[in-house]
Amino acid sequence: MLHLEPKAKWAFWRRGLMMSLVLASTAGATWLMGVVLGTNSLTIAEGAVLVVFAVSFGWIALSFWAAAAGFVLSALGRHPVTLRRESAAEGLVPALRARTAVLMPIYNEDTRRVFAGLAATYRSVEATGRLAQFDFFVLSDTTDPDIWVAEEAQWHDTCRALDAGGRLFYRHRAANVGRKAGNIAEWVRAQGGAYENMVVLDADSVMEGDTIVRLAALMEANPKAGIIQTLAIAANRTTLFARWLQFASRLYGPLLAVGHSFWWAGEGNYYGHNAIIRTRAFAAHCGLPKLRGKAPLGGEIMSHDFVEAACMRRGGWHVWFLPELRGSYEEIPSNIVDYAVRDRRWAQGNLQHARILKAPRLHWVSRLHLAMGVLAFVASPLWLLLLFLSSYVVIQQALAGHAYFLPGYNLFPIWPEYRPFESHALLAITAAVLFLPKIFSLVLTLGSRARRVRFGGAGRLLRSAVAEMVFSLLLAPVMMLFHSKFVFTILAGRSVGWASQPRDDRGIAWSEAARRHTVHSLIGLAWGGIVYWYAIDFLWWVAPIVLGMALAIPLNVFSSRTGAGLAMQRSGFFWTPEETAPSPALRLLDEELKRLGDRSLPSFAQVLSDRRLAALHMAMLPDRAPADHALIDSAERAAIRADSLEPVERRALLGSAAALEHAMRTAEQRRLQRAA
């Protein structure tokens, strides 16, 4: 078994190397930019360009050097933490001593998908022969009464189908206090004492049993490990957008993850799911308070995962990131709109982290994670500012022409000076920093027959990579505008809730795309038009940006189509190992989805008429308190017409055994009266 902890002490040298490379490359590129801009002295606008460029370049340089480290380590076949030729994913399935809980917190999710994913994971753990050490919990914060009833029924069916009674549990919270973090904290406070570890899943997660068992064994072998995060692979979606994103993250993600794992060492990060956590350490150090003030920057902490990782590290526990542990899957939004909506929530959560940066006794790498989370969204307005300023500088020069003489008496003119070598070097460096990480991944994949075949072979891989690059170029400016807007609206005090993410393949209608992107397209067209009019030579430089904005509406509609995704699949584009050779857990998920696909799910109204559902629901209810007048009133109205109740009344009725019994008795009496 992999022993990670002795390597924690080498982290200082690894980070020293990484930071030196990032700082040196940023300083070099900024110097070049300064030379290019300041050949004839620097104006205020050019000075601003230089500052924004330095920050933005530093941001991408960090990813570049992480990818470079990942490339070297992967090419040499070395583990990113131990630097030996070993992997946590190899060897026999280990025996386990400690007990682990697998938690799936849910909130108004697609019930079939939740239980299909959980059943697939359960069956996969069972197949390892280590099931005895695991219990599974569905932790529901669902507020929709119909979904609540469906979840209970589906949970019961799943328990019976898997013979998992007493091992697969379900708990419903009446109020989702603290959102997902509060949901898990409530479980830790009530049940956590019985489990050494907890594996946290997302509603769309699936994990191989082998991976879960190895995670638990790693916790036993590394007693100072507080969290071990796996690299969750995006899979299972079929729209063009999703297949493109799945391909990109599958091809390029692992290399970057290896690089980050190398320099993060024991101060890694937690992404909120598909990770194992030491329960007692989590309880002792990760109870999150509310931030002072109101949302969006105060109140409940939305992106809790980064903060929990920082708190865990502050408590003296290590947080490891092991990308070699495969068999960890998640699903992604199926279109640009849902992707942006998810980013809007994340943006709010990450910007909150700016207030946590100064929290006492955090490790500096934890502070860096939090700062990088902030910068992940702030980088967009910075890039936008940089592009606007660059266009402004160029247009200003085109309009005013070159100033040969400064105000006052000048003996000699100032001749225009150009630095073609520096300009081209800067362009080459920026392109390399942006595109070399992709080329590193391509080289590694093409260099291995097994990997190449899983992506459909060299031909399909190469043309998919080219298509991916075109698609990325078109999408990046749209996301830049989205993120910029998010940052400004959050800073202006506008908050969003944390609704459940649509987890199916959702096509976007032209009207919705037009509503979302008209402003983007107008910005692109106006920007392109102005540059064309005043500085046509500069148009080529901004063309990819304005083109992406101008084409946002058709790009969104077309890429959200399942038909387009499948047509591209038939044409040999964006194949991933999850499509060409799905792992056992993904095959089990497919089986479970098919099994549940044609089953109808019960709803609130059926609880009042279906004895079986009502009995199940009553057996699950902890609240046996007498019902108050309002509940009795709701119960009597429900007995006459269930759909006359507001959702909040339905939820309250479902939460009270006494009121529900009253409703059912009343309904039965009415039935008997009618029969008489």
Partner: protein, 106 residues
């Protein structure tokens, strides 16, 4: 409440079974609730507890009134019935195992 009405909460027994069970409930002193508690204790086994609500949910889930009417309230239930019933028992949560989780300063 008439025994027939109480029995209806456990499913649709065939008329002859319903009559027989209703007579048994009428002849006993403790009523249906008492008989169910005793039956739950038998089904749970020594040292265990089987809440009547969970028992009813499981009995309804396996369609016990139609498929196993003779096992209802039976002092020595059949092993196959017992196994099927246990498989259908809703067990929402294991016993509590609380941990203290204090709020951290940020």
């Amino acid at each position: 409440m008439a025994p027939e009405t109480e029995l209806a909460a456990w499913g649709d027994f065939a008329p002859d079974w319903q009559r027989r069970l209703a007579d048994r409930i009428r002849s006993g002193r403790e009523g249906l609730n008492g008989l169910v508690s005793a039956w739950a204790a038998v089904l749970a086994g020594a040292g265990d507890r089987l809440p009547p609500d969970a028992l009813r949910a499981a009995f309804l889930a396996i369609d016990g009134a139609r498929r196993w009417p003779g096992q209802f309230l039976e002092a020595r239930p059949d092993d196959v019935f017992r196994a099927e019933l246990h498989r259908a028992l809703p067990r929402p949560l294991p016993p509590a195992a609380p941990l203290d989780m204090p709020e951290q300063p940020l």
